[in-house]
């Protein structure tokens, strides 16, 4: 079974913000809401590292655990989505998320916090697939079109990989072996958990 994940290769990210633009354009995300953003550590210093951050669709999502109205659900492909009709905009998920993914539009009167918005892995939401309602609330549903997230597919250096966890891990492993460095994957331990026994071999044919 496919288990959708994001992986950002810090050796390759050049902080072009192409992923941010692709996400904004694909989903017509309003001003003030950034589903994806690029963070740079030691900006301007030789050896700086950039990373593209959005919802990582965690295996054990903290947002899902803290939501007081239980508006989150996980799809069979492992994508964490939420029902905006149920969201009360309390902001608990924002405090719980280790990646700062949940965003709140503040276009209402007196800067009132609206319903939460976040990366959907371009999988839409609980409305009819590829309908106007789905696009208006959640954005594009590329998975239902047989595509992968726009940010990953648009990445110019292929630093940001998105798709089936096993496939993108294979791509990254091959890459790290060929260049001989930069095998650290930022955020994967936090989002998808660390193995209890790192030396243990995965059973043959099993999926992560």
């Amino acid at each position: 079974m496919a288990r959708m994940k994001f992986l950002c290769d810090t050796e390759r990210c050049i902080e072009c913000n192409g992923c941010v633009t692709a996400c904004k354009q694909e989903n017509e995300v309003p001003w003030g809401v950034n589903r994806r953003r690029v963070v740079t550590i030691n900006d301007g210093v030789p050896g700086e590292k950039s990373i593209s951050v959005a919802c990582m669709h965690c295996s054990d999502a903290p947002c899902m655990a803290v939501c007081p109205v239980d508006c989150f659900y996980r799809t069979e492909e492992g994508v964490v989505l939420h029902d905006k009709d149920m969201c009360i905009g309390c902001g608990y998920c924002f405090y719980a998320c280790p990646f700062g993914a949940p965003q709140f539009p503040q276009a209402g009167a007196f800067g009132m916090r609206g319903k939460m918005d976040k990366c959907t892995f371009c999988a839409g939401g609980p409305e009819k697939d590829n309908s106007k309602e789905e696009f208006a609330k959640y954005g594009s549903n590329r998975l239902a079109q047989g595509k992968l997230p726009a940010c990953a597919e648009m990445c110019s250096t292929k630093a940001l990989l998105g798709g089936d966890g096993d496939v993108i891990a294979d791509i990254f492993r091959n890459r790290a072996l060929k260049r001989g460095k930069g095998s650290e994957v930022w955020g994967w331990g936090t989002a998808y958990g660390k193995p209890d026994n790192p030396q243990q071999q995965a059973p043959k044919g099993a999926k992560s």
Partner: protein
């Protein structure tokens, strides 16, 4: 003596007035820890041609073929296979 017409009007007014009492519950009966939002359809349950933007091919309802379509698309992110 009340005419039949008045009786009919009175009956209509009473039935319209009481209609509000029979209103159904509009809030969710909340169960802690359980998603009660709208159900979502699965991506492979769509016809590949359902959206004009579809590029991949799979069989409607066949998850394996959808996964295979996505895996082959995933390889577009692997420049080692693209350049070899």
């Amino acid at each position: 003596m009340i005419s039949a017409r008045k009786l009919v009007v009175a009956a209509l007014v009473v039935s319209a007035g009481l209609a509000g009492c029979g209103e159904k519950e509009q809030v969710i009966v909340y169960q802690q820890g359980k998603y009660q939002g709208k159900p979502d359809t699965r991506p492979w349950e769509n016809e590949p041609g359902a959206s004009i933007y579809t590029t991949s091919k799979w069989n409607k309802g066949d998850k394996t073929s959808w996964e295979a379509a996505l895996k082959s698309r995933n390889q577009n992110q692997n420049e080692y296979t693209r350049t070899e």
